[in-house]
């Protein structure tokens, strides 16, 4: 039986990346994710891998680009302000068709903000992780175990589709300790004939590039990617439903907020309110089909986030504005409480929201 370990989220996700075949990690200190880098600096040398602390998050994401272009599984991690610095690099990864994994342990913003947990980078991750038309895979795990499982999935999918992928977590998940069982280390990684690692006089030179000076050529390339994105939206969504079969109030929440909402939903059920929880595990591709199914019996939907409301727009759009969608959120690093969420559910159940 695989070993159960009690581990902190930041360290567990680092170990999972190593087991998923990552041997090149480029980090930079920033609360609340620094333990990822610290852990990597301890473990990577033991597995013949590389931990390198870059001069900045900008340096780190561009080092990721180099190792990714050379065909390696590579990763970087940071927190909100650092992710902002990486967005140019993320756009270059997308524009150069390079697979790489970026971990965002969100903290409160804007600006230096705070170091407490937040989900206020949702729009940045899902809508505009950099300039230009492109998408990025974005996974939102809610437990330390799921963080590890998602790392394996994101590495596989970024390699499969040759695009960047993000684990969108928050300081709560990064800092909490929970038992985790690691999947078996990956054996054998996919071949990457497109990589730039020296043609060894055995093939023509490869080119990794995002510059297309002819508009038609660039447009054609972007359209090809969007065909791929459509396939991903149809086939790679992931979500979890909890007591939504007969729910009249469906709460939609991800990551740490989903755990809080789950407690509120359980309490509501005990108080005789038919509540349920829908929890996206991918927020790009957004699980539109699954959400529509989960909200079938819902009279109203409540989105709960640690922000002023960002995913709520996607929930409304996914339901095609056919159901009323309310929002409850705390921001600035304040974490909503189950009681707070329960209060909203109760208020809505009384129909006061009309």
């Amino acid at each position: 039986m695989a070993q159960r370990l009690l581990m902190k989220g930041n360290e567990a996700v680092a170990e999972a990346a190593i087991r998923a075949g990552c041997r090149h990690f480029y980090g930079y200190p920033i609360t609340p994710q620094t333990e990822v880098a610290a852990y990597m600096s301890k473990r990577m040398p033991k597995v013949g891998g590389l931990f390198l602390q870059a001069e900045s998050e900008i340096g780190a994401i561009n080092m990721v680009m180099g190792s990714a272009a050379a065909g390696k599984r590579t990763m970087t991690s940071s927190s909100s302000p650092g992710i902002s610095l990486k967005t140019e690099g993320i756009s270059f990864l997308a524009g150069s068709d390079l697979p790489a994994v970026i971990l965002n342990i969100q903290r409160a913003g804007p600006g230096l903000g705070g170091i407490q947990p937040s989900q206020a980078d949702y729009n940045q991750a899902v809508k505009a992780a950099g300039h230009g038309d492109f998408k990025m895979l974005v996974f939102t795990p809610a437990t330390v175990q799921e963080m590890c499982d998602c790392v394996f999935t994101v590495f596989d999918l970024t390699d499969k589709y040759r695009m960047p992928g993000m684990l969108l977590c928050d300081g709560l998940l990064g800092q909490m300790m929970e038992p985790v069982v690691f999947p078996e280390p990956v054996e054998g990684l996919p071949a990457k004939p497109w990589a730039v690692n020296g043609h060894r006089n055995a093939r023509p030179g490869n080119l990794v590039n995002s510059l297309y000076l002819h508009p038609e050529a660039l447009e054609a390339r972007v359209r090809e990617r969007f065909e791929m994105y459509k396939t991903i939206e149809e086939t790679e969504t992931q979500a979890e439903c909890f007591m939504t079969e007969d729910a009249e109030i469906v709460v939609v929440a991800y990551g740490a907020c989903a755990r809080i909402a789950r407690s509120a939903v359980t309490a509501a059920r005990e108080a005789g309110i038919k509540a349920g929880l829908f929890r996206p595990i991918t927020v790009w591709p957004y699980p539109k089909r699954e959400l529509t199914g989960a909200a079938k019996t819902a009279k109203a939907v409540l989105t709960v986030e640690m922000s002023m409301g960002q995913m709520v727009e996607d929930v409304r759009a996914a339901l095609e504005y056919k159901k009323p969608v309310e929002f409850f959120g705390r921001t600035g690093g304040v974490v909503p409480t189950p009681a707070g969420v329960l209060g909203e559910i109760t208020r809505m159940a009384k129909g006061e929201w009309l």
């Binding site: 090149h24 001069e55 050379a70 020296g198």
Partner: protein
Amino acid sequence: MKVVYDKPGFLRGLPFTYCSGCTHGVIHKLVAESITELGLEGRVIGVAPVGCAVMCQSFFACDMIQAAHGRAPAVATGLIRAVPDGVVFTYQGDGDLAAIGTAETIHAAGRGENIVIIFVNNAIYGMTGGQMAPTTLTGQVTQTSPYGRQTDTAGYPIKVCEMLATMEGVSYAERVSVHRAPEIRKAKKAIKKAFEYQSSGRGFSIVEVLSTCPTNWGLTPVEALDWLADNLIPHFPLGVYKDKFAGEAK
């Protein structure tokens, strides 16, 4: 009849996209000749900058990657760490390396990354039409220093070789020029030595090459060569600023 001089095959035979008389082309040739003479084609991975020389990604017959503006040394770090036996070089202009890419350059040097940096210094931003660069001379007129570079608002030209030579991580730093045949021969020796050091794992090398920009200097190609000699060289003295392995057998 014996061919005693010809275009290196490593340059794919494509016409260069540079302005008439721009010495980027000469530097490309020296890089190509060095790589070919050392037999490194199969191991080379080149990092193209953002600027006029981004086009070099199509000119060299090896694996190439195009980096974001200023980020080439970081991309090169990721490459050499992933392909330790690779021959990784960046080719960058002065805006790319000495302005936006300063941190990446200094820290790649500080880590002693086993890469070659070909740093083309023509004291101006070429691609975008002739703006002031960190290496623009005091008083030099450019599109963004129409009254000459003013020290109170634009400071002083950055001397990259001198700066990097103070760093332990740097194995070799030399400034050369390509404005005359004898200087081109010296520049070739420097570039070839940099690739020799790199391909034998001897750490960070930078060759700063003074180069012309006739179009944006507002001079003819031949006048530009003279302007370089009379103005750039006095402010950017040629020579070896560091060579950890000077005199050692190859």
